[in-house]
């Protein structure tokens, strides 16, 4: 039970996004997720109906007790009424418990279905999608947006109907007892409805504001704690404190508004109930004088009814909010489900069980995106090359030359616009993604580590990899010493404080990971800077081990690491400008030579040469 303490009834509150139209299409689509549970929903409706009768039945029984037995002094008869009252009470308690739990249960099942469907959908999107969509947004869709639907899916419909039932039965019993008195009592109802909805509307707005300001406070603190040393180093404490106070002040102001609405609302409801009560007493007494059959029992029953019909009204106004919130969530969730950028699987995929490992790019053109006029912004232009089984091809070139793109395309993270990419002569578009990727091992430059143990990161939770295999692979690339130095060895939590692994060390783990999946083709992006000499040597050796007997496509940043490559492809602005072995390329005295000079000029060239090198860089 979420409680907002400025409200002494502790009702749950949430932000509501502005969706004022209740889109029938969205509701129907949400309904789809409830369909499997139709039987349970019907059951829940019956239970709700029962609970809704029993509540208003009790004041009616009280009336019977007073008029038929207490006034007449018939205590024995009273016992029966008491028994009925207890039965009604216990019955209502049990039924409403059943209603609450069952609706929650239904909602949770539906939410589970929706959430897991959504996750699979998101996971299946191509990388182009993830490039464009901030991860944070997708997380919000699969978690909190889905969560917003949960209330609507669980209690939404059933509870709203239940509240309507309750109002109906309260009115029904009142009219049965005394229609005139009922009419007088119900006169205040429109006012109550109006106040409730007025309150709900204003509070909702303020709530959105407080949530917004709270989020600002959160991100301000988050940012300033993370960058506290910058604030301190640059003597910005005073200014930042003022900025913080400003946000904090806005947050307080929003709350003060909220308090005002609550302060008006609860007394108003109390007051309106009292007006109804006063009306009942005045009109009841007045009618009694007129000789009507109004009894004391009826009066007492009405005193109770005058208070009873407020809750269903309030709950209905809550339901309205819940539904609105759900609509906003549903719109976002469904729009995510409707965007499908997954890579299509061919209708008749070619098989590729065993491969030799020939890689072939033939006149490949590729653009990540188009500019405003729809012209593709080419990242690769007419790239062709071929790597024979077991050979190593190295891609070199300046940042932005298109090296990583070649790697991404081979794994079919993106679809090419023109040309062909073939593995063992088979166009990769004719293969199942799974079939293609199973044969390729990837060692990225920035190795992403999942939280959890080193073991999890090596095996990626594949139960098919046993301890022995894992350790052997680690030994092969000499990562075992590194791992064993960690406090918990293979069980070390990689995200835990104090066990931070350097870039180079992370890449070593990636080597092990790649080895464990024993691919025929290895694709690797060499780690660039920030690798200390010792790790660099380890990586160099690991590289030799891993590429042995495998077709390898490597992106090299340090030209020293690729001197043995069978082919070096020199890329520039999306094109392959030169190709050949290290020696051939050096001798050709072209682009490769320049890159080479640039990298080593500073480190070894005598001082006088520097100016010359500088000029070269600028050409």
């Amino acid at each position: 039970m979420a409680d907002d303490a400025s409200d002494d009834h502790f009702e749950p509150e949430d932000t509501v996004d502005e969706v004022n139209t209740f889109d029938g299409r969205l509701i129907r689509r949400l309904g789809q997720y409830l369909k499997p549970y139709t039987g349970y929903i019907v059951l829940a409706l019956f239970i709700t109906l029962g609970a809704s009768v029993l509540g208003p039945l009790r004041p009616w029984l009280v009336q019977k007790g007073i008029d038929n037995y207490i006034v007449g002094g018939d205590l024995e008869g009273l016992q029966y009424i008491i028994l009925y009252l207890m039965l009604a009470l216990v019955g209502e308690g049990l039924l409403s418990f059943g209603e609450n739990y069952l609706t929650q249960w239904i909602g949770q099942q539906a939410i589970y279905d929706l959430r897991t469907t959504l996750f699979r959908h998101v996971e299946g999107q191509s990388l182009a999608y993830f490039d464009r969509t901030p991860v944070g947004r997708v997380i919000t869709r699969t978690t909190s947006d889905v969560e917003a639907l949960s209330d609507a899916l669980s209690s939404g419909l059933v509870s709203a109907l239940g509240d309507l039932f309750k109002l109906f039965f309260i009115a029904y019993f009142m009219f049965t007892l005394n229609w005139m008195l009922a009419a007088v009592t119900l006169l205040v109802m429109p006012l109550m409805v109006w106040v409730t909805f007025w309150f709900r509307r204003n509070v909702r707005e303020q709530y959105r504001e407080t949530r917004k300001q709270m989020a600002r406070i959160n991100s301000f603190i988050q940012e300033h704690v993370t960058g506290i040393h910058i604030v301190q180093l640059f003597n910005r404490e005073e200014e930042e404190k003022e900025r913080f106070e400003e946000i904090n002040d806005k947050h307080r102001a929003a709350h003060l508004h909220t308090i005002f609405y609550y302060a008006v609302f609860w007394p108003s409801i109390e007051f309106i109930s009292s007006v109804a009560l006063a009306a009942v007493l005045w009109f009841g007494g007045f009618r009694a004088l007129g000789g009507s059959a109004l009894t004391l029992g009826v009066l007492v029953a009405f005193i109770q009814y005058a208070r009873q019909f407020f809750r269903p009204i309030r709950d209905l106004s809550n339901q309205y909010d819940t539904l609105q919130k759900a609509m906003a969530g549903a719109e976002r969730v469904f729009s995510l489900l409707d965007t499908d950028e997954g890579i299509e699987t061919p209708s008749a995929p070619a098989e590729l069980d065993e491969i030799d490992g020939t890689i072939e790019f033939e006149n490949v053109w590729f653009a990540y995106e188009e500019d405003d006029e729809g012209t593709p912004d080419w990242v690769l232009r007419d790239v062709s090359f071929r790597v024979e089984p077991g050979e190593t091809a190295a891609l070199v070139g300046a940042t932005g030359a298109g090296k990583s793109t070649v790697m991404n395309l081979l794994l079919r993270f993106y679809e090419i616009q023109r040309g062909h990419i073939r593995v063992d002569g088979q166009d990769i578009r004719d293969l199942r993604l799974r079939a293609l990727r199973e044969h390729i091992g990837l060692i990225p430059q920035d190795v992403f580590l999942f939280s959890g143990s080193v073991r999890r990161n090596l095996t990626l939770d594949d139960p098919g990899i046993d301890e022995e295999t894992m350790r052997r692979a680690a030994e092969t690339v000499q990562a075992d010493q590194l791992i064993e130095r960690l406090p918990d060895g293979y069980d070390q939590d990689v995200k835990e404080r104090g066990s931070s692994l350097s870039r180079g060390q992370r890449q070593l783990l990636a080597f092990v990971r790649a080895l464990l999946y024993d691919p025929d083709v290895m694709v690797l992006d060499e780690a660039t800077s920030s690798v200390d000499t010792e790790t660099e040597a380890l990586i160099q050796r690991a590289l030799e081990r891993v590429t042995e007997g495998r077709t390898t496509l490597a992106i090299a940043h340090r030209l020293s690491t690729i001197q043995d490559a069978d082919t070096i492809l020199v890329m520039h602005k999306g094109e392959i400008r030169e190709r050949g072995t290290h020696q051939e390329l050096l001798a050709a005295d072209g682009l490769y030579r320049k890159l080479y000079d640039l990298q080593y000029a500073d480190q070894g060239a005598p001082r006088g040469d520097r100016a010359r090198t500088d000029q070269r860089v600028q050409t």
Binding site: A5, S6, F10, V62, V71, I81, L85, M86, L89, E92, G93, F97, W105, Q109, I111, T116, F119, V122, E123, V135, V138, T143, I217, Q222, H224, V225, T226, I228, I230, Q232, L233, N235, K241, F244, H255, L256, Y262, A263, P267, S268, S274, L277, L281, G285, A288, L296, V300, I303, R437, L442, P444, L460, D462, Y517, S530, D532, L559, D602, Q603, G604
Partner: protein
């Protein structure tokens, strides 16, 4: 609960809200309690009126009585409306004072906490995670607020209501009161336990929610790996498991929450039934009237919430107490690094001479010292370079210059004065620091650069960006200098971030400039451009530069080679190259590689 005492000064500070607020609370409760008495009067009067009215049936007095009764009934009705209106007015005032005061206190507490956080130094932040700090600034403060506002309001209101109502009821019939009120303490206890169950289960639910969220976050951040290794299906199943667990925890919470209203209803309902049953017998005995029954029913309804809220309040106070302790653990912490009695306020300007004398430092959670007896003397306007392997103590050393760290032993001096005597503000005013891990605020590029110098105009920002070789990038951004970076804007590459961070330091035109491996993410050409800018500034600052690449340090006046926290070599490049040692090794290795390549 002792911790809560530390909040008392707030009550004093806001006494102009609390004192009237609590008075309003009592007045409101008082008026509300009188309503049922009037109801009883009416209910009991009606049969009497009817009897009298019929007794005088047919006489002229009947018409008069009719008018009299009619007016009386209208008066009764008006009294009920007036009483409840007055009670409502005071209830409104009560919320507008007590709850408002609690929001003011929340505001004050949060400002004080933030202010304090800004003064704390790195040892504190090594101990507390960002999430932890945020929780304290939000959740814990909110819990404290609930105690200073709502909890106190509820307690006052509940006590007044329960005491007055119970006394009134007791006067009418002690027996009936005892019976009717029996379920209410049960209610309070039940609420207390259920609130606790809900709390525990929500906590566990929340934890699972975090697990679920981080699972999604990881899967999406590592999507490339998952796809490359065709682990999507396995990951989806793992996600199913987490979702299933989440659903299960949701349902255990739903179990308690579903029982919440029914139990409430049951206990209050039982009270009402007892009133009807026992009351019915007493009416038959003539001990009480039917009006009393109506009165009792209203009282019980009225007391339900105050009694139940007592159950909440206990939990609220317990949580507030724990939260106060958590907040105090931060507030009581004195900043390790601050001005003190030894500070000499006369120091207003710095030249930039830096001296280390036998400086030692050891991180708390490490076995080996990070620095072992480092000494050097760097005259103003000169350049010091520090090289060495990862973990050799380079960053630790430079972090002492702006006093982000303090030596365990030995002294650091600036312009010959011990660093502790230089006012912290003055020291940092003269410092331009580019940290190893770049941190930018989610703000515009211009504001991030001007973070170093608030008064800087666009021209100065442009100049600093140019010196940091950033201009070409800025020109390519859609909004130039006004482009937002970070969450709300574009993502900068590592090199771009590093250069922005450099511009932020350069714009201060500092006397002391510290580059802590600040060129690691830029390419060689950019590095050269930035080094050229720095050379052009020579004479305007003392430069301390940490680097992995020897290319960046060769022109330094003094190079320190660190190994395991010790200075193993010192001197200019020319000397070090010809000396047997780590520097020459590193250098030679590079030469060698090059020679091999050149074959």
């Amino acid at each position: 609960m002792g911790a809560l005492g530390r909040l008392n000064h707030f009550f004093w500070e806001y006494k102009y809200l609390f004192v009237p607020g609590l008075l309003f609370t009592m007045v409101s409760a008082g008026f509300q309690i009188t309503v049922p008495m009037v109801v009883r009067q009416v209910v009991d009067s009606i049969p009497r009126f009817v009897r009298l009215y019929t007794l005088y049936g047919g006489t002229p007095a009947q018409t008069e009585l009719y008018a009299y009764f009619f007016v009386t009934l209208v008066l009764f009705a008006l009294v009920i409306v007036a009483l409840s209106g007055t009670s409502g007015l005071f209830m409104f005032l009560m919320r507008q004072t007590v709850v408002v005061a609690s929001r003011h206190i929340e505001y004050d507490l949060r400002n004080a906490l933030y202010d304090h956080l800004q003064r704390l130094s790195s040892t504190f932040y090594q101990e507390y995670s960002t999430g932890d700090v945020i929780t304290r600034a939000t959740d814990d403060i909110e819990k404290v607020r609930r105690y200073v506002g709502p909890a106190i309001m509820y307690v006052t209101r509940s006590l007044v209501m329960v005491l007055v109502a119970a006394s009134v009821m007791f006067v009418i019939s002690p027996t009936l009161t005892l019976y009717a009120l029996t379920p209410l303490p049960v209610l309070a206890v039940a609420v207390f336990f259920m609130a606790r169950m809900v709390h525990d289960r929500s906590d566990r639910l929340q934890r699972q929610y975090s697990t679920l969220t981080s699972r999604v976050q990881e899967a999406l951040s590592g999507i490339r790996v998952l796809k490359a290794y065709t682990r999507e299906a396995a990951e989806a199943e793992a996600f199913d498991d987490e979702s299933r667990e989440y659903r299960a925890r949701n349902l255990t919470l739903a179990l308690v929450e579903s029982a919440w209203r029914p139990s409430f209803l049951l206990l209050v309902g039982v009270s009402t039934v007892i009133v009807v049953w026992m009351g019915g017998q007493l009416v038959a005995e003539g001990a009480i009237t039917i009006g009393n029954i109506a009165e009792y029913i209203i009282y019980i309804n009225m007391m339900t919430w105050p009694v139940a809220s007592l159950g909440f309040v206990i939990t609220m106070i317990q949580r507030a107490s724990a939260s106060v302790s958590r907040l105090q653990s931060i507030m009581d912490r004195e900043p390790d690094i601050d001005d003190g009695p030894q500070t000499n306020p006369a120091i207003q300007r710095l030249e930039g001479r830096i001296t280390f004398r036998d400086v030692w430092y050891q991180y708390e959670d490490e076995d080996e010292p990070a620095l072992r007896g480092v000494s050097f003397d760097l005259p103003a306007d000169q350049t010091l370079a520090i090289v060495g392997r990862t973990g050799s103590g380079k960053s630790t050393l430079v972090r002492m210059i702006p006093r982000l760290l303090e030596p365990d032993a030995g002294t650091v001096a600036v312009d010959g004065s011990e660093i502790e005597t230089v006012p912290l503000r003055t020291l940092r005013e003269h410092m331009g620091y580019v940290p190893q891990d770049v941190f930018l605020f989610s703000d515009t590029v211009a504001n991030n650069i001007a973070f170093g110098d608030l008064d800087a105009d666009r021209e100065e920002i442009r100049a600093a960006a140019a010196e940091a070789d950033l201009m070409e990038n800025v020109e390519n951004f859609t909004d130039g200098f006004d482009t937002y970076v970070g969450e709300r804007g574009i993502t900068l590459s590592g090199g771009q971030k590093q250069r922005t961070s450099i511009a932020r330091a350069l714009i201060r035109d500092p006397r002391i400039l510290v580059f802590d491996d600040a060129l690691s993410a830029v390419d060689t050409a950019t590095e050269r451009n930035i080094l050229r800018s720095l050379r052009e500034r020579q004479g305007r600052h003392t430069l301390v530069i940490v680097s992995h690449r020897l290319s960046a340090v060769q022109e330094a006046d003094l190079i320190l080679v660190l190994e395991q926290g010790r200075v193993v070599q010192r001197g200019p490049h020319e000397t070090l190259v010809n000396e047997d040692g780590l520097y020459a090794d590193l250098y030679e290795k590079q030469l060698l590689e090059e020679e091999i390549q050149a074959l």
